[in-house]
């Protein structure tokens, strides 16, 4: 895997914020460019990987990469303002400096999904690490069968990547199902929790791979729901999140049982998760 290793793995690559987009009241999409052109060119990553972003003076955090490297449209992260580091990141303006360490972790093996139906299930910011998968499927449309995306949020304003929904629904054999926990006066769509929508839609497990990301509790319910629909554990994939500090398997913090989320994950099949001893 593919980036220039820093001699000191704890020193980030310097980078600048080249784009900022408000996705929801507390989620921003950051476009970042590494300052050194050679580092920028060699920063090659795959769908599902993550990187550490440093807000110097405050700290560092791991964030799923929300862009598809192939598109060469910039390295993007969707960051929710929820703690000290994310709050500092949200205060940055275009042109601001930050640090990037990565890419880390394993990735979605898109080659294994060729010819299959792709079922994407995202809740809240969970849709962000799945966005590169969506983009890959859209860009290589004939390599995959049906694409179904179930995307939920707490409220209509909190649906993430609403600016792209048309692009996701438009191509042939692409279906986008949105849902919210609570609607508002304008909302015409579904008011339901993501696991409920999964059961309602009752997707067939035939030749399908289900890729899920969202809050732990949503993942747990969706996993149960898909099992009930007949999905086998090998057909279900998710990406997990844990508190991290080093991201390179040294600080012994992000393990769920004997698996380190930074090295063995963050992408896991349900088959692997069923062998986890600990609850994530």
């Amino acid at each position: 895997m593919c980036s220039i290793p820093a001699a000191n793995p704890f020193i980030p690559y310097p980078a600048t914020v080249t784009g900022l987009l408000d996705l929801t009241p507390d989620i921003k999409l950051f476009t970042v460019e590494l300052t050194d052109p050679e580092q920028q060119d060699n920063f090659d990553y795959r769908p599902g990987q993550f990187a550490f972003i440093s807000a110097y003076g405050v700290g560092e955090g791991p964030y799923g990469i929300a862009s598809l490297a192939e598109r060469k449209a910039g390295l993007e992260f969707a960051v929710r303002r929820v703690g000290t580091v994310t709050r500092a990141l949200h205060e940055l303006e275009p042109g601001a400096t930050l640090g990037i360490r990565g890419p880390y972790g394993n990735w979605f093996p898109m080659e294994d999904y060729r010819g299959k139906n792709i079922l994407i299930i995202g809740g809240g910011i969970g849709i962000a690490p799945l966005r590169p998968v969506i983009h890959h499927v859209l860009d290589h449309r004939s390599d995959y069968a049906e694409l179904t995306i179930i995307n939920g949020a707490r409220s209509p304003r909190e649906l993430v990547f609403s600016n792209e929904f048309d692009l996701w629904a438009e191509p042939p054999q692409c279906k986008l199902e949105l849902c919210v926990d609570r609607g508002n006066d304008e909302w015409q769509g579904r008011v339901a929790l993501v696991p409920q929508v999964v059961s309602e839609l009752s997707p067939s497990p035939d030749n399908t791979v289900a890729i899920i990301c969202g809050p732990p509790i949503m993942i747990r319910f969706v996993l149960t729901g898909l099992k009930e629909l007949g999905f086998s554990p090998g057909q279900i994939v998710t990406t997990l999140e844990q508190k991290m500090k080093c991201g390179i398997g040294k600080c012994a913090r992000c393990n769920v049982g004997d698996k380190y989320i930074c090295k063995d994950g963050p992408v896991f099949t349900l088959e692997q998760i069923l062998n986890f001893m600990e609850q994530f």
């Binding site: 793995p9 704890f10 020193i11 640090g99 844990q242 012994a252």
Partner: protein, 329 residues
């Protein structure tokens, strides 16, 4: 035939080493023995009969706090840490502590290499001292070590009535041994002192089967979730990384932390996969007795007994091991 160095010569050798190297040795003050940097003038007052230091010498390679790098006030300029070329000699380290460093090596020297740790390891020589009188809590042979085990050391000194037998096991060690100060004598290596064994057969498998046992909550009842066990341990290595604002720079600092402290695994937003005392306590034992052996083949413990002595509420790893082997699935 073995090479012997008598105490006087040993001391004069150490004083010479103190000139050329940074000499680190066990120093006792106020009843507490710790590894400290010593000057030549302190060599004569070194107590070489110590049983074990309060805290292991892992801090020589993996300090309690370490500035990994700094960022200048422009927010861009990375100031790498200033390193020294001066080599270090750690003298008087017991085999259990050398084994602890070797266990940490498995993680920190693996790719991507922890350059801070490696840099210190590369310029340090370990001169060990075999134990004469292990503490009742020690159990190093049960975890593959021993009170006179020369492994993981560059040189091992074993005390006899005629002086210390010198064994150099590595190239670095051989180069350093003071040939002129040693004599060949027909004195055999003494049998190592007895250390009470702790039977470890099958413990990893029993751990695997008893993850959900209420046993862990019961032990955790009395756990204070201080960090003492992890901090005195020669092979615990969890750490925190955090930024600290300086006057015109920002320091990114790595510090020891323990899986026992509350909030160790809490994510911003409040979700914590280990919210209970039992879950946190359980992590320590599973890391040591199951996860690490699965990854590296060895139990993450050197039998030094420090955690047993230092735990304020007597959570005893030997007791945990024997209890787990008797647990019903």
């Amino acid at each position: 035939m073995n090479r012997i160095i008598v105490d006087n010569n040993l001391r004069s050798w150490l004083k010479e080493l103190a000139e050329k190297y940074t000499l680190v040795a066990p120093v006792t003050s106020d009843g507490v023995t710790l590894f400290k940097h010593v000057k030549g003038s302190q060599v004569d007052s070194l107590d070489l009969q110590y049983s074990n230091t309060a805290v292991s010498p892992k801090g020589c390679f993996f300090p309690l706090s370490e500035t990994m790098f700094s960022i200048g006030s422009d927010g861009v300029n990375v100031i790498a840490p200033v390193s020294t070329d001066r080599e270090v000699v750690i003298f008087g380290i017991h085999p259990c502590d050398a084994a602890g460093i070797a266990l940490i090596d498995r993680v920190f020297l693996a790719e991507p290499t922890d350059t801070h740790y490696k840099e210190k390891r590369d310029r340090t020589i370990l001169i060990g001292l075999a134990c004469n009188a292990p503490s009742p809590e020690c159990f190093c042979p049960s975890v593959g070590g021993g009170p006179a085990n020369p492994m993981y050391l560059d040189i091992l000194l074993t005390q006899t009535s005629a002086g210390y037998i010198v064994q150099a096991t590595t190239g670095k060690g051989k180069e350093l041994t003071p040939a002129a100060r040693m004599e060949e004598k027909d004195i055999p290596l003494p049998p190592p002192p007895h250390v009470t064994p702790v039977p470890l057969e099958g413990v990893s498998e029993m751990m695997r089967r008893n993850f959900d046992s209420p046993y862990w909550d019961r032990v955790a009842d009395r756990c204070l979730h201080c960090n003492i066990c992890s901090y005195v341990c020669p092979c615990c290595y969890c750490f925190d990384i955090r930024d600290y604002m300086g006057k015109d720079k920002i320091d990114r600092v790595r510090s020891w932390e323990s899986c026992q402290s509350a909030g160790f695994t809490m994510i911003a937003g409040g979700h914590d996969p280990r919210p209970t005392k039992g879950a946190r306590l359980r992590q320590r034992w599973y890391h040591k007795l199951l996860y690490f052996p699965e990854l590296f083949g060895d139990i993450k413990c050197t039998g030094c007994g420090r955690c047993v002595r230092s735990c304020p509420v007597n959570i005893d790893i030997r007791e945990i091991i024997t209890d787990v082997q008797k647990l019903n699935v």
